[in-house]
């Protein structure tokens, strides 16, 4: 029988992550962000990481564990994000000074292209064309193609070694449900990664407890799950009683 996918601690879930790993971090403006796994990775100390996320984080206080902290901790060689600087020029992300000093490489990718490159990796599509970024600095020197009279940019799949994601509910088979805007990049990263590690908000249910019609990421994509403990040990704990709905 397959071993259990449930791991007892965040430290155990990330213990074997090697230097040089390519890791995708789910989440968008809070929901879906794997704060607890990221904190465990800060402690674990793997280096020369490539981090894929919507943003490097750090724009808001109080600050929770984010890719920017991994950068500050000297663990990151490269980030692939749709924000490598803040939207307002007056804000400065913590990441920016490392980037400007040349200590960390950054690949800036439009958000839809980032999502589609992850989706392509998970779907076995090595490359595709998109209208996004045509005519901009991001397209300079890159391959384009005219299809039915419109110019498109060639983009490649973005496979990951590991995905860190956060889900609402899970069953023992690894089937996941995300609640509302928690979904965002999470299922895409889970499909793009060879090893998907999930922090789960609610108690992990027996296999079969979730309706097969309402699974947002099938268990075949999920290898490890850790349930988020109550605070203060668990970060950003959202339990049923704390939700409006």
């Amino acid at each position: 029988m397959p071993r259990s996918k449930t791991v007892e601690s965040f430290a155990a879930a990330v213990a074997d992550i090697p230097d040089g790993a390519v890791i995708a971090f789910g989440g968008f403006a809070g929901p879906g962000t794997p704060y607890n796994l990221t904190r465990a990775l800060l402690d674990q100390g793997a280096r020369r990481l490539t981090c894929i996320a919507n943003t490097t984080g750090g724009a808001h206080q109080p600050r929770l564990p984010d890719v920017g902290m991994l950068v500050e901790n000297g663990q990151v060689a490269k980030v692939i994000c749709s924000f490598t600087a803040a939207t307002r020029p007056t804000d400065v992300l913590p990441f920016t000074k490392y980037h400007e000093a040349g200590e960390v490489e950054a690949e800036l990718v439009p958000q839809g292209t980032l999502a589609e490159r992850l989706r392509a990796a998970g779907a076995g599509i090595p490359a595709f064309y998109t209208p996004t970024a045509v005519g901009t600095e991001l397209a300079e020197g890159r391959e384009t193609r005219v299809i039915n009279g419109r110019e498109y940019l060639l983009e490649y799949a973005l496979p990951c070694d590991i995905a860190f994601i956060r889900a609402w509910r899970a069953d023992a088979a690894g089937n996941l449900q995300f609640r509302l805007s928690q979904r965002n990049f999470c299922p895409l990263m889970g499909m793009a990664a060879k090893l998907t590690i999930v922090e789960v908000e609610e108690e992990i249910l027996p296999a079969g407890a979730l309706d097969p019609d309402h699974i947002h990421l099938p268990g075949i994509f999920v290898q490890r799950m850790v349930q988020v403990p109550p605070p203060p040990e668990g970060l950003w704990t959202i339990r049923r009683q704390e939700r409006a709905r």
């Binding site: 403006a29 809070g30 020029p89 839809g112 992850l118 209208p131 509302l180």
Partner: protein, 221 residues
């Protein structure tokens, strides 16, 4: 309405932020799917559209969101693309990021309203990178700009140093080319026309002369 003045310094001439947003929102048609960018564009959702129903779409896959919820009533699992804790309207649906941008790229967004640093007479605009910066903040702006049926821009007519933001050619790296059809500023409503900008409406207290003096491209009244 603010602004009975003549555009002189110190006087409250022109539209305020909500009025700029209101003016663009009044262009929304019944049934449109609308994506609002972070900042002033989010104020469009405050505008009373009467019996016209629009559907607000956010990049993170929320289709059909409603007003921002007051503190204490937020659902922490629910944010719009600006990170605000919004509500859902009846008939809302959630999709993941790839499907959300599939909606954008396939042309289902009737209008996107965004902020910008500059808009050119050709309908180019720039909003992701400031001069000399090494990084940038693109987010979903390039996807929306390239693929929405219409791109509306809201910005202050001039920079803090008084330099025009409506220009012949963008000096900053562009987000997309030739896509902007309507621009609201504190001075009024303008449409890129290739040679310059057509004046669709001037805000109260703004004269055509004052607008011309503050614009980096010809204005056609």
């Amino acid at each position: 309405m603010s602004g009975e003045g003549t555009g002189q310094p110190g006087q409250a001439a022109g539209w305020d932020r909500q009025q700029m947003a209101d003016r663009l929102a009044r262009e929304f048609q019944d049934g449109w799917i609308v994506n609002l960018g972070v900042g002033i564009p989010t104020l469009c959702s405050n505008t009373d559209l009467g019996d016209r129903a629009v559907i607000y779409h956010a990049e993170n896959g929320v289709i059909g969101y409603g007003p921002v919820l007051p503190p204490g009533q937020e659902d922490l699992h629910l944010v719009n693309a600006g990170g605000q804790n919004v509500s859902l309207k009846p008939g809302a649906a959630i999709v993941h990021h790839a499907d959300s941008f599939g909606i954008i790229r396939s042309g289902r967004i009737d209008v996107t309203v965004m902020g910008a640093y500059e808009v050119s007479a050709d309908g180019d605009f720039a909003n992701w990178k400031v001069g000399g910066a090494k990084g940038g903040g693109i987010g979903g702006a390039m996807d929306l700009a390239a693929c929405a049926q219409r791109v509306f821009i809201i910005l202050e007519h001039v920079t803090r140093k008084g330099e025009p933001r409506l220009v012949r050619q963008c000096s900053l790296p562009v987000t997309a080319r030739g896509v902007v059809t309507l621009v609201a500023t504190n001075y009024g409503l303008f449409a890129p026309s290739g040679e310059g900008f057509a004046v669709r409406e001037l805000a109260p207290g703004i004269s055509l002369e004052a607008a011309r003096a503050a614009t980096g491209a010809p204005l056609f009244g």
